[in-house]
Symmetry: C2
């Protein structure tokens, strides 16, 4: 049976709406009382897994899910071996470099060599500064990255920015955009190539909307 991995968090509601338009009802995942992480749609056509956004590419790469919906930011950071089928046109945000507004840095290349940059997106941050040929130390954090510059631990952060509210509240400003991100439909490469589970039919139904 076709299995699709859906991401917890900001993209879940729109992901479930998209599935609904393709005839698959996984709205049980939106009910607060739900504790199940694996459900079948009421018509028994397909299964869905509810996992952390970062885990979507893992389940798709290992073939436990044939399709997945996940932000481009996660795909870029994890560099998982999945087929990127389509930009789904929701969940827009951007990966940015931000610094305290009181600092004198106005672009990434203003940062001091051997400065410290805190980020949840270590690979994206490394790639950005490597391309600039600027040797900075990337410190991996798991949450509240804005505390890095506030406490003085880091000169800058690389983080996902949506409305910019968190940055403003913490006295930070964006000085560079690494890339823009939105939700993507991804597939297991082998399943996609062999068209198992009538994958291409499902993909058409999901992305035609």
């Amino acid at each position: 049976m076709l299995t699709i991995a859906l991401p917890k968090g900001a993209l879940l509601k729109d992901s479930i709406k998209l599935c609904q338009q393709a005839g698959l009802d996984f709205s049980l995942f939106l009910e607060e009382s739900n504790r199940q992480l694996q459900i079948e749609d009421p018509q028994g056509l397909a299964k869905a897994l509810l996992v952390r956004a970062q885990d979507v590419p893992v389940y798709v790469e290992y073939g436990q899910a044939h399709l997945g919906i996940v932000g481009y930011d996660v795909l870029k950071e994890k560099q998982a071996d999945v087929a990127q089928i389509a930009d789904l046109g929701f969940g827009y945000c951007r990966m940015s470099v931000a610094v305290p507004s009181a600092s004198s840095y106005r672009s990434s290349s203003d940062l001091p060599a051997h400065g410290i940059v805190a980020s949840k997106f270590v690979n994206c941050a490394k790639e950005h500064f490597r391309a600039l040929d600027l040797p900075v130390e990337i410190v991996p954090l798991y949450g509240s990255v804005e505390l890095g510059p506030i406490t003085g631990m880091s000169e800058a952060i690389v983080d996902l920015v949506s409305t910019g509210k968190t940055l403003r509240e913490n006295g930070l400003i964006e000085i560079d955009i690494l890339f823009e991100s939105s939700a993507y439909l991804v597939a297991n490469p082998l399943t996609y190539r062999l068209n198992s589970y009538q994958l291409s039919e499902w993909v058409k139904k999901i992305i035609r909307n």
Copy 2:
């Protein structure tokens, strides 16, 4: 001013109680309406940072916090350069290998060579299987690790077990314990050695209880 990093989540309440016994009131962090991640105690004696458990060793290692409270599991996984001062005697849990109860595996060494083990604690899992000389593939997951064996992606998981309720609910059983864990008081090595901020006085007050 002395700064202490406190972990969000399961250890927060007991950590704040311990600080209170040492004369430092950070109970504001327990109020649901609180959005501040950095506060001063009302007497102005010390500051506290509220961060993810995994980030506590980072802030302590880089010296933005002089003390920190964090689970031994995180210290072992991150191998951060911090001084482990004392076992604080709360937050008991264990790092275990678990498999589906229906499987035939009853110890780690029963697992097949080149089998797959899912874990949030990649380094701990690697070390365990390396010591057994059993080549398994460790797949990093960020949440709901129990889905690994349920979906058939992995033969086993390495995860933190407290009451065992999550394992039971998902038809998994523990087959090996890697180590036991509890909350630790950690310090920045240099601050501790130089006894800046009267660190040893504070440590005595915190651990005497």
